[in-house]
């Protein structure tokens, strides 16, 4: 299952690319011969059902997982040939479940983002200080700087983790489901922040997301995965159709225009609650539902 790469980024440059990458845990193959270019300066969202390999792919893109075949290329060189520290200066990563040490303050945690820029006797330079200060400001966490991370709300904590990744001052930012466990308001809050980082600060962002509609709204580029392969890739308006949703999630749906952002809005159709009064039957998709109604 290889990707069709020509759609929207035929001309765009890509510093980070996966070339025929296969990923496996032990003998269990999770991702099979996958090709992907991450377009520079864009927000790329990776979507797909649970266990489709999206987080695994992100781990490989971040050099955390070594492909069993194929390779990930960063700035023209194999990412696994690059030293860890060198990768960390180019690419920042926020894993799904980072752990905050008990009692650590926000500023101390964010300061750890400076690790790849520090040396044994360069533990806290003026540029470290400037970067941390800027990261706190960008994420709106300056006021929390002296608070303990474990006292914060889930949304605040996620901002702090993003601040840590920002303090790393990398142009590429990889975020693994940063909105999971957050309520809808905090999800928007975090994604607005991502949007700002991309548009105002020119960061290239790769983000694994569960929520299709938020992915459509915030991403320039969507990668839809199923069973360790890419089903569709491109601009949300081109890619997210009822057909793709059925292919990827096995779910019948109606795709309409999001009244707020004019991006695709996926409205799922359930077998149990389908007979809403004003459902225009022409937009119905899926043979089963057609015959039943």
């Amino acid at each position: 299952m290889t990707a069709t790469l020509t759609e929207s980024n035929g001309t765009a440059s890509a510093r980070l690319r996966a070339k025929s990458v296969s990923l496996a845990y032990d003998d269990h193959v999770v991702v099979d011969h996958l090709d992907l270019d991450i377009p520079d300066g864009k927000v790329t969202a990776i979507i797909g059902p649970n266990a489709c390999g999206k987080s695994t792919l992100l781990r490989a893109l971040a050099r955390l997982l070594r492909p069993s075949s194929g390779h990930v290329v960063l700035d023209g060189e194999l990412i696994h040939k690059r030293p860890t520290k060198d990768v960390a200066r180019r690419l920042g990563l926020l894993p799904q479940t980072p752990i905050a040490p008990e009692g650590i303050t926000v500023v101390d945690l964010v300061a750890r983002g400076r690790t790849p820029h520090q040396k044994l006797f360069q533990q806290w330079s003026t540029s470290d200080e400037a970067a941390v200060s800027a990261a706190l400001e960008a994420t709106g966490t300056s006021a929390l700087a002296d608070r303990a991370v474990d006292e914060l709300s889930g949304g605040q904590r996620q901002r702090v983790w993003i601040a840590m990744a920002l303090a790393q001052e990398t142009e590429l930012l990889l975020l693994d489901e940063p909105t999971t466990f957050l309520d809808i308001a905090h999800q928007i809050d975090v994604l607005d922040l991502v949007d700002e980082l991309n548009r105002d600060r020119g960061r290239t962002v790769v983000i694994v997301l569960h929520d299709l509609n938020l992915a459509c709204r915030y991403a320039d580029h969507v990668v839809a995965m199923r069973d360790g392969g890419i089903v569709a890739v491109g601009r949300p308006a081109e890619v997210i159709t009822a057909e793709t949703v059925r292919d990827v999630f096995g779910l019948d749906s109606m795709v309409i225009e999001d009244p707020v952002s004019s991006t695709p809005l996926v409205v799922p159709i359930s077998a149990r609650r389908e007979n809403a009064p004003n459902l225009p039957s022409t937009q119905r998709l899926g043979a089963e539902t057609e015959t039943r109604s």
Binding site: L93, P98, A111
Partner: protein, 370 residues
């Protein structure tokens, strides 16, 4: 601290004049010293704690040298140490009591550092090397050398390090199931500890009575009759492994954020963990080689140090000072509590450590961490 204050202020002035960027002050913890391309972060509280503990160690050490069947006034002890011995004091201080105190200090420091490293790596205070069988492995290695090879101090050390490493590898492999989970490591380690002590018991019952006596006293963890040979072991251990442990504090702090986050920050996770385990096992094993598996010193030092420094990091250096003080105090108590009978120091440390272990076990069982 005034010197540091001045340095800091000076560096700040320099920084603001040099840097064109507007930098909002960031109140990072610790004190920062900057000079041109050089910058260090120090934790004044940790330094204070270490200085305070060092003072206490000196006081208890002098006291311990002074008391005994043949008391020597503190003033004479100090005079002897400064090179002006009286008639009797040279032998008693220089040959009998001084090495004992030095070995106690060094062994305590080694156990303290080792405990702090493993407790942080395993993310659980029960991950201490004396709980999860690593010191047991070192003890087995040493007993093999004593019983079968009538070994010298150096050979016992080699046996201990080898035993500790083998135990660590075994426990790690047995606990492996797609990576190592902390609670599995702790449970497997405790089991391995029992298996190891069974093997030691078997060897003791089969061995020559003289060797058994030597091994048995040593197995309780004793500082009795320690000579400059053992002092040399701990000095070498601390001089080589101590600085390595301190250098690796940085990586240990990053690993505290989770393996993936640490790797994302540029830490070579596999190599960093391997180095930490090697240094941690080395420290514990050399401690065992010098004084036997003194119970619970590694186990209590890390948590006490963290409490004193009140820091979210693993406090490797403060834990060394705590371990040293705990061991020296325990040895003084072991010598004087039932004087003229001397108890092995391991019994005293067990008296402190065992209740803490019970409390921790019940608490973790209740909160479901274990």
């Amino acid at each position: 601290m005034t010197l540091l204050d001045d340095l800091h202020r000076g560096a700040d002035d320099l920084a603001t004049s040099e840097s064109s960027r507007e930098v909002a002050a960031v109140s990072i913890s610790g004190r920062v010293i900057r000079r041109r391309g050089f910058s260090v972060r120090l934790d004044p509280r940790a330094i204070g704690v270490c200085v305070g503990l060092a003072g206490l160690i000196v006081i208890v050490g002098l006291w311990s040298i002074s008391v005994g069947d043949f008391p020597i006034p503190i003033s004479d002890v100090v005079a002897t140490l400064l090179g002006n011995p009286t008639e009797d004091s040279e032998f008693i201080v220089g040959t009998l009591r001084m090495p004992r105190v030095l070995v106690g200090t060094g062994v305590g420091a080694a156990f303290g550092m080792s405990g702090a490293i493993f407790q942080s790596l395993v993310r659980n205070p029960l991950g201490s090397p004396d709980i999860i069988g690593f010191t047991g492995g070192a003890a087995l290695g040493a007993v093999v050398m004593i019983v079968y090879f009538e070994a010298s101090a150096l050979q016992v050390s080699i046996g201990a390090v080898a035993g500790g490493l083998i135990a660590a590898v075994l426990v790690y492999l047995l606990a492996w199931k797609r990576g190592v989970q902390a609670y599995r490591l702790v449970l497997v380690g405790i089991g391995a500890g029992f298996a190891i002590s069974a093997v030691i018991d078997y060897m003791i019952t089969r061995a020559e009575i003289n060797d058994v006596q030597r091994a048995a006293v040593w197995l309780t963890g004793s500082l009795n009759g320690r000579s400059w040979d053992e002092v040399r072991i701990v000095v070498v251990a601390l001089a080589v492994l101590g600085p390595l442990a301190v250098l690796m504090q940085r990586n240990l702090d990053r690993l505290d954020l989770g393996d993936d986050t640490a790797a994302g920050l540029g830490v070579n996770v596999g190599r960093a963990k391997l180095m930490l385990v090697l240094v941690g096992v080395g420290l514990a094993a050399l401690g065992v080689a010098a004084a036997g598996p003194v119970a619970f010193v590694a186990f209590v030092s890390g948590p006490i140090a963290r409490r004193l420094v009140s820091s979210p990091r693993a406090c490797i250096v403060p834990a060394a000072f705590v371990g040293a003080l705990v061991t020296v105090v325990a040895d003084l108590a072991a010598r004087r509590l039932l004087a003229p009978t001397e108890l092995p120091v391991g019994i005293m440390t067990a008296l402190i450590g065992a209740p803490y272990l019970l409390w921790l076990l019940t608490r973790q069982a209740r909160t479901g961490a274990l």
